[in-house]
Symmetry: C2
């Protein structure tokens, strides 16, 4: 059956157009917010507009958010509606970024890129390394097959200890500090919640071996930035490759820009260009499911906040 | 049966010691060059000493060279002896370097590494790309499993068209120019011979799409360096990531150091540290085989020169 679906806000015209087309492609009726049963949110940076918009939507049952990281909606999540988000849809690209940053860091590619003279080979191989991944969502599930041929020993640290294909072991967060001393590479691929904010801090840096690298493709505020600056300055860890930072964007003159063992990429995990390419078909699929009363993809657990 | 094996020259003490130990571990009798039936060559940079040393070895049957690239011995290769080399033993590490350079180049990690300010996301994903690999030896065989999870379309270009597991197709070198226009990433992993010297030149650059990246983990002189400088300056190709250069080491002030889309790593494919770790056990194994009259590993085809 066809259902009434609105796209809002229209502050980001290119995304708005793609999402309107996705709704129509799925066979739903593209409608105003006043009539809408479903709402496709079309600007991740404008969460503050949500209360006003939803107040005009008396028939609203379902809200689709466009990105995987939905912390800006934390205050608005309300069980009167069904919430879905883009979790998993960029996972493949972000996993590729995670592997790229891991290899670049371990092999000192950031260092060589800055040279204008031949230097001595330094760095480590990823093959046979001990890798610890925080989080077991879509990114991790896409990253594990990329890591498999390297023969790494992989530990997943997650909220509960349910095991994951492709990992050597899965442990609950409470056991993180048992794993850290046996970690060559720590990859952050978890959701940002109250429990995981600042989870990587000076205690974590101290527990890691001095050669260990940290790769963050999750959210900047998983890492306590000042603690990271200290760890890099003191050589407590081998280095950090960050696709996300806190604050983000990282301001000019921030000490991280000057650390020789820090590689910063400007949130390239999913570029805007690849974003809409995968977002459009995903939204169409979910609108189809909404029309057919099928299970929706990317369901948000309102209590857990992701 | 035990056989007489010498290690020479002794110009590189650390390598010399490791190789002497490998000979003894294998149960052979470590002997002087005058008595030797087998000779383990212990300094890749001293090929010029070979005529003098071999002239004193009347019983010599077998020569083991320590590296995979044996072009410095091209003039000395002589069918009166059996020649073996280290081909394949560093392949896994070099394949890891090839993937690292590929991801770094496509994702602009070299560019971000040089920034001191947040910038716009640029770059491409490796996933689903069209990859062309020149050469089908040990490096390629180790690289294919690393590429498999990325879902790339992979063409191998080699001397003959015998197919390789993990590649979508294998074509002979004569068909290279059919493949180049459909290539996002060109990886050089072939041996250096008279036929492959300068194989990547301005014709190749012109045939590639403008966004294509080139990765060289083989030998610097596969690439005509001046043509590469022109191609990078003119934007004929997307960029080049080079673990080997011609000349090597690349001198200070060389134009390649200044090209924004050029990433140069100082022959990190196999570092000296990882080298001896894998070379020692390999030499032991081959000495054992020599003593037992078993097939030797890394046999050199004297006519082909690799």
């Amino acid at each position: 059956m066809t259902r009434f679906v609105a796209v809002a806000p229209s502050t980001r015209p290119e995304m708005f157009d793609v999402l309107c087309k996705s709704v129509q492609d799925a066979g739903a009726t593209l409608t105003s917010i006043e009539e809408a049963e479903g709402l496709i949110w079309a600007d991740p940076s404008k969460a503050d507009l949500f209360p006003e918009i939803s107040a005009n939507a008396p028939n609203l049952k379902w809200i689709q958010l466009p990105y995987a990281g939905i912390e800006s909606f934390a205050l608005h999540l309300d069980k009167q509606w069904i919430w879905t988000c883009g979790k998993g849809i960029y996972a493949r690209e972000v996993a590729e970024t995670a592997l790229s940053l891991s290899l670049s860091g371990l092999k000192n590619i950031h260092g060589y890129a800055r040279e204008t003279s031949w230097s001595e080979p330094v760095g480590r191989v990823l093959g046979d390394s001990r890798v610890c991944i925080l989080g077991a969502g879509g990114i991790t599930q896409c990253l594990l097959p990329l890591l498999t041929p390297f023969g790494c020993d992989i530990t997943i640290v997650r909220r509960h200890a349910e095991s994951l294909d492709g990992a050597n072991r899965t442990v609950p967060t409470s056991r993180l500090f048992e794993i850290l001393p046996r970690t060559d590479l720590l990859i952050l691929a978890l959701s940002l919640t109250n429990e995981t904010l600042g989870i990587v801090n000076k205690k974590v840096f101290s527990a890691l071996p001095e050669h260990a690298w940290i790769v963050n493709v999750a959210r900047g505020s998983h890492v306590v930035t000042d603690d990271l600056v200290d760890a890099l300055r003191l050589g407590t860890i081998g280095g950090a490759a960050l696709d996300v930072t806190d604050p983000e964007p990282l301001p000019d003159g921030h000490p991280l820009w000057k650390e020789p063992n820090c590689l910063i990429t400007p949130h390239i995990g999913n570029t805007p260009e690849m974003g809409l390419k995968v977002l459009g078909p995903f939204i169409s699929e979910n609108v189809k499911r909404f029309c057919n009363n099928d299970d929706l993809l990317g369901l948000v657990d309102v209590d857990l906040g992701y």
